[in-house]
């Protein structure tokens, strides 16, 4: 690689766990279906990976409508994980991505520890899958619907079960911001066998229609996403990286520009997912990757890996100066 100062381009290669990927920009689960619909708008093979919509064991209808409400700089959704189930996913969705030459980070979701383990087992050696993302923001049917991601022990039991199923690819735990201490959940997931962490999932929110006097969403509450949550997401990535600087983070939450993505990298993310921005601009991931490379070059980085967590080092330096001064 020619140093950027000598006219070379920024080395944008990064990894998911130990798996190399050519670009640090991925789609986000639930915002790209299984990739196919985005094919007319961007080069799927140039993405770090297509993160597929969370798949469950059985086909799910999802929730009734209305499922969506636009909010200031964001949106609420309550889809209910509508999807075809693992069999159809393996028969149709994943093979399409393989034929297209795209890498897949497969997101799985379950209602019990056993379901997660079975999904990981079914996906073992699946062609095209380069990483697994475990969506633990699901209610545990065996624990009065408590969300796995909101309890370190429950989150750890899911990650341990997925690890034991040995899917053969790096395993990322996708964390919920709706917790008191995200670092304790992150740590529990890593200790249970997660190779990396995806941060963050949506925040629970709601909107009430002042004409009908009822919640807008049929499910009453839904997940808030988009730039409105970006500062929260960035704070979570910052806290996790500070606590566990060696653990790779896939950062996400309201990323819309290369500068937004750069903030997540500086906070400690070694790759980023672009989610809600895709709804407004399906070519956004390609544009963001391009903008991120330009910003890195402008700021003097030869490699994206040099920028990961950089803001912590600057902050530590400033703190040290303050103490000595």
């Amino acid at each position: 690689m020619i140093p950027r100062a000598l006219g070379g381009v920024v080395d944008m290669r990064t990894t998911l766990g130990l798996t190399p990927i050519p670009s640090p920009v991925l789609t986000a689960s639930g915002c790209a279906a299984a990739g196919r619909e985005l094919d007319p708008f961007l080069d799927l093979t140039a993405l770090g990976a297509v993160v597929t919509k969370s798949v469950q064991l059985r086909a799910r209808s999802g929730r009734p409508t209305p499922r969506m409400a636009e909010t200031p700089s964001g949106m609420l959704n309550s889809i209910g994980l509508q999807g075809p189930g693992i069999e159809a996913f393996l028969a149709t969705d994943l093979p399409w991505l393989v034929r297209r030459g795209a890498r897949a980070m497969v997101s799985i979701a379950g209602g019990s520890v056993e379901e997660y383990a079975e999904l990981a087992t079914r996906l073992r050696t699946a062609a095209g899958m380069i990483a697994l993302e475990v969506n633990i923001s699901c209610p545990n049917v065996e624990s009065r619907g408590e969300v796995f991601a909101c309890d370190p022990a429950a989150a750890a039991s899911v990650l341990a079960a997925v690890r034991s199923a040995d899917p053969g690819v790096p395993i990322y735990a996708k964390l919920s911001p709706d917790v008191t201490d995200i670092v304790s959940v992150a740590r529990a997931c890593v200790e249970a066998g997660a190779d990396g962490l995806s941060a963050i999932n949506t925040l629970l929110g709601m909107v009430i229609d002042t004409d009908t006097l009822r919640p807008v969403l049929a499910a009453e509450t839904g997940g808030l996403s988009g730039p409105a949550i970006r500062p929260v997401a960035l704070r979570c990535v910052w806290q996790i990286h500070r606590a566990m600087p060696a653990v790779p983070i896939l950062g996400m939450g309201g990323i819309r520009t290369g500068a937004d993505a750069f903030q997540f990298v500086l906070a400690g993310a070694s790759a980023v997912s672009v989610g809600t921005a895709v709804f407004g601009d399906p070519s956004a991931p390609a544009r963001i990757a391009h903008e991120l490379a330009q910003i890195l070059a402008r700021k003097g980085f030869d490699r994206i890996s040099d920028a990961v967590g950089f803001a912590h080092r600057v902050a530590a330096h400033a703190e040290a100066n303050q103490v000595s001064g």
């Binding site: 915002c31 619909e37 007319p40 059985r58 086909a59 636009e70 889809i79 189930g85 407004g280």
Partner: protein, 315 residues
């Protein structure tokens, strides 16, 4: 628009009709979805903005979109530029496509559509299209009845052009709450053999709703096309079903993406295999065979829906 519209014989408008049909002289599509041209994303310059009652019709320069667009398809527009706090695209049915340009009728509903409404010629919009499945053709020689509510008449301009040029007899009923909420009246007058206009407040045409007058025209129709608010579609579908007529409805569901990734615009539809599913109105619609749409179950989770049992098990 203040003129009272009754039954209009369009014979005196033959020349207008000839001019209007020349731009869309290709037969209606019968191409399977997978073989249709893929949508494109483009920066589209506004060429003209024309007031149409309470609405505005925009003509956009979209050379990559216009030649592959079909009546019944739609486009989406980004709102507010790159720093906008409104993230989601707005969808608009095509009211016309010819040469390098497309037309859409915009109603200012909320902040997003109001922003688009206020754009002027020369402004550039982020456009994606054409999207969705177009209107299927009637059987050869069949006569068509088009029924629209409000700006739902917009996509019927292109459809009527195609139908007329393919030799089909075309009748239309278009209605709205009031005269200013009608659109495409002059265009459809020129493109139909019979046109009836209704308004609920009697400010134009006959007083009442479209479904009050459709019984007059249904006996002569072989295929019914409807576009408008969901309660109107449901009522028209019931009228068509009672007469055993094939009816195609173009639905308007809230969408976030318009391209099939967000899963917000679903409605319960009976598949060809007899199984009901939540299907996306953006990619599997917006045009559906009315008999397959479970209007009574929109906003519900019917027990027999594919995948509904997995939802119940999770609760």
């Amino acid at each position: 628009m203040s003129r009272a519209w009754g039954i209009t014989q369009a014979v005196d408008l033959a020349e207008t009709r000839r001019q209007m049909t020349s731009s869309m002289s290709i037969p209606l599509p019968s191409v399977p979805g997978d073989l249709r041209p893929k949508p494109v994303q483009a920066a589209a310059r506004i060429l003209t903005v024309r007031p149409v009652g309470a609405y505005r019709e925009f003509t956009l320069n979209a050379p990559g979109v216009a030649p592959i667009a079909e009546p019944g398809q739609f486009i989406t527009l980004g709102v507010g530029g790159e720093d906008s706090a409104l993230l989601l695209r707005r969808a608009f049915a095509l009211s016309g496509a010819g040469g390098d340009t497309i037309n859409v009728v915009v109603a200012a509903h909320g902040p997003g559509t109001r922003w688009i409404f206020e754009r002027r010629s020369g402004d550039v919009l982020d456009l994606i299209g054409p999207l969705g499945r177009p209107f299927p053709p009637p059987p050869p020689g069949g006569s068509a009845l088009l029924i629209a509510g409000g700006y739902g008449a917009a996509p019927f301009v292109g459809l009527a052009q195609r139908l007329l040029s393919s030799g089909h007899a075309v009748a239309a009923v278009i209605g709205a709450a009031s005269a200013e909420r009608l659109c495409a009246v002059a265009e459809l007058a020129a493109l139909t053999h019979v046109l009836i206009v209704t308004t609920e407040d009697g400010t134009a045409g006959r007083s009442g709703r479209v479904t009050d007058v459709t019984p007059e025209l249904l006996p002569g129709a072989s295929t019914v096309y409807a576009c408008g608010p969901m309660p109107m579609l449901r009522a028209v579908a019931a009228q068509a079903a009672a007469r055993g007529l094939v009816c195609h409805v173009s639905v308007e569901e809230a969408m976030a993406c318009g391209i099939g990734v967000c899963m917000t615009c679903v409605l319960p539809v009976i598949g060809k295999d007899g199984t009901s599913r939540f299907v996306r109105s953006c990619v599997e619609g917006p045009v559906f065979e009315a008999a397959r749409v479970r209007f009574d179950d929109i906003g519900q989770l019917p027990e027999d829906l594919h995948g509904a049992s997995a939802m119940r098990a999770a609760q």
